[in-house]
């Protein structure tokens, strides 16, 4: 159906399409330049970084990768556990709340939303110790729970807001028709809102995942056993062991980024599915 619609939108000027592609390609090039630079840096030694930062010429120090891999590899699975757990919990509670704030009417709604919303603007540079004290009193140290629970607690306000906006934007009739069929509100959520929200869920998942993936201080202090710690700890060791060796460190970053790239492809597929689901309505 979608392709038919597009066929009808075909315009007579092919150069207009070319111009669009050119614009986006230029933007992509600018966006991807740091990544390119990062890959280039990752095969340089200290000297090449200082003396020829932008140059691309041999020797390429591939040993950066073997050394960095030794620091990071054993910790990757921990990061996966932390990031997957945080993402699942955060996304599910956020989607539920976003749906309710965008769709339902209930007393105290604005107050409750206000509580979440306001938190977005409170800079939290000094709550490390209070947060830690809380995690300690709950007896959850040295497990993935502090990372997962605190992530779910702190990273949702903006995304609840996003979900709410997208849900509220949908035509009311869509939900009404289901409601009349005797669907429960949860079924509405599950079978209508979730598919509609899929692109935003994908985007949020990426954000939460990347955030936990790169988080260092919080998992460091709440997970004491080295063998349970995430890969950012490995990166910190790598940095301390090779001071000022940005090439080596960047190699570590590149390795750490590979799982993220896989995730992007997967979530972007969700994004596409979300779009087809989106065209169901009306």
């Amino acid at each position: 159906m979608a392709t038919q619609v597009q066929a009808r939108r075909q315009r007579p000027f092919p150069w207009a399409e070319a111009l669009k592609h050119a614009t986006i390609v230029l933007v992509c090039l600018a966006l991807l330049f740091p990544l390119f630079l990062m890959v280039m840096m990752s095969v340089k030694d200290k000297e090449q970084i200082v003396y020829e930062f932008f140059a691309i010429r041999p020797p390429f120090h591939l040993e950066n990768y073997t050394i960095a891999f030794g620091y990071i590899a054993p910790l990757i699975s921990n990061s996966v556990v932390l990031a997957v757990g945080s993402t699942l919990l955060t996304v599910s509670v956020t989607a539920l709340a976003g749906y309710a704030f965008g769709r339902l009417e209930f007393p105290l709604k604005n107050l409750l939303f206000g509580i979440l919303f306001a938190k977005m603007m409170l800079p939290g540079i000094m709550n490390l110790i209070p947060s830690f004290t809380l995690a300690w009193k709950l007896g959850i140290l040295d497990t993935p729970l502090p990372v997962i629970l605190f992530c779910a607690g702190t990273s949702q306000p903006f995304w609840v807001f996003v979900m709410r906006t997208f849900v509220a934007q949908q035509p009311r009739e869509l939900f009404e028709s289901m409601r009349i069929d005797g669907a429960s509100e949860f079924q509405n959520f599950r079978y209508l809102a979730v598919p509609l929200l899929r692109p935003m869920i994908a985007l949020m998942s990426i954000n939460v995942f990347v955030f936990v993936w790169n988080d260092y201080i919080w998992p460091l202090v709440t997970i004491q056993s080295f063998e349970k710690r995430p890969l950012t700890v490995g990166l910190a060791y790598l940095t301390q062991a090779n001071p000022g060796d940005y090439g080596m460190l960047t190699a570590g970053y590149v390795i750490a980024a590979l799982p993220l790239l896989v995730l992007f492809f997967i979530s972007m597929r969700q994004f596409i599915e979300g779009l087809t689901a989106g065209s169901i309505k009306l």
Binding site: M38, E105, P130, F161, Q169, I206, F271
Partner: protein
């Protein structure tokens, strides 16, 4: 907003229970793991505290002091500059999203979207290094290019120039297309039925007209979202300044967030830092609410 018919039939208590059933997990997590630890910071703003000796109650003393703090005032002006720049620079993202949306070939569009996401894996440190090697007055790329073009008089000290430093920091956002914002716009555009565009095309609307009268209004909700994200980030952010300029030259690039950070960790004035944080919070909240009100009004008009 009129309550849906189904919901209207429910008694308020049932409505509340239903609503709570959905929002309670998020709200509880947020209250326990975000708000609760934060109260420590909030009540400290009424104390003078160095981090270890007994905190001394000073009431509103910290806030009074803040009113007369010239550094804080400078920081606020700088923040206003960064905020204005951030809002203006939201527009390249909108244009890029619309252009991306109009690319019809879905497979290509998919590839572009993935490419838009990829920069998220590049760590902050690499970005900072990159700009450092561009801005450095002595060996940086920019000055070398200017020299290569035969205009050695035009070389700059970039981050070392009080008049240029803020522009330099703003320019680090180049090409001013943010992944998250772009994908949120795209999601907004995609969730609108194709038939709307067909109608527009039948009316003979050109690309610019379509943009102004169709796409732009359609993503007003998404714009509001991103605006609030932008305001929050611009008002509370300080990472770049911390690494590159330390707020200098002098206080030319000092922002309230950095001043709060320095007050807490460089001069151990935790209470004062907390009061800066609380003030920033209230200001962001007011500005956000004002901007939302503004948009509501324009929407209704």
């Amino acid at each position: 907003m009129a309550a849906p018919r189904a919901a209207a039939r429910r008694r308020p208590l049932d409505q509340l229970l239903l609503g709570l059933a959905f929002v309670a997990p998020a709200l509880l997590l947020n209250l326990v793991f975000d708000w609760y630890p934060m109260f420590d910071g909030i009540y400290r703003s009424f104390y003078r505290w160095d981090g270890y000796s007994t905190a001394v109650w000073v009431g509103l003393g910290n806030f009074e002091r803040l009113l007369n703090d010239t550094v804080f005032r400078t920081a606020l002006w700088n923040m206003a500059f960064f905020l204005a720049a951030a809002i203006v620079l939201m527009f390249p993202t909108i244009v890029a999203s619309v252009v991306l949306f109009r690319i019809r070939h879905q497979r290509t569009q998919f590839v572009y979207r993935v490419l838009f996401c990829i920069p998220m894996v590049v760590p902050w440190l690499v970005i900072m290094l990159m700009w450092q090697f561009m801005y450095n007055p002595q060996y940086g790329l920019f000055n070398r290019l200017i020299e290569a073009l035969g205009m050695p008089d035009l070389t700059q000290t970039w981050l070392g120039d009080p008049d240029l430093v803020k522009w330099c920091l703003v320019f680090m956002g180049f090409p001013f297309v943010t992944t998250n914002a772009a994908l949120i716009y795209l999601g907004g555009l995609k969730s609108v039925s194709e038939s709307v565009w067909e109608a527009a095309a039948l009316d003979g609307a050109g690309p610019v007209q379509t943009f102004l009268y169709l796409e732009l209004p359609l993503i007003a909700g998404q714009f509001k979202l991103n605006l609030i994200g932008t305001i929050t980030a611009a008002m509370t952010g300080y990472g770049t300044q911390l690494i590159l300029t330390k707020g200098g030259p002098g206080f030319a690039s000092m922002v309230p967030g950095l001043y709060m950070y320095f007050s807490a960790f460089k001069s151990q004035k935790y209470g004062y830092a907390a009061s800066i944080g609380l003030t920033l919070f209230l200001m962001s909240l007011v500005i956000t609410l004002l901007s939302m009100r503004f948009f509501k009004d324009t929407e209704e008009a």
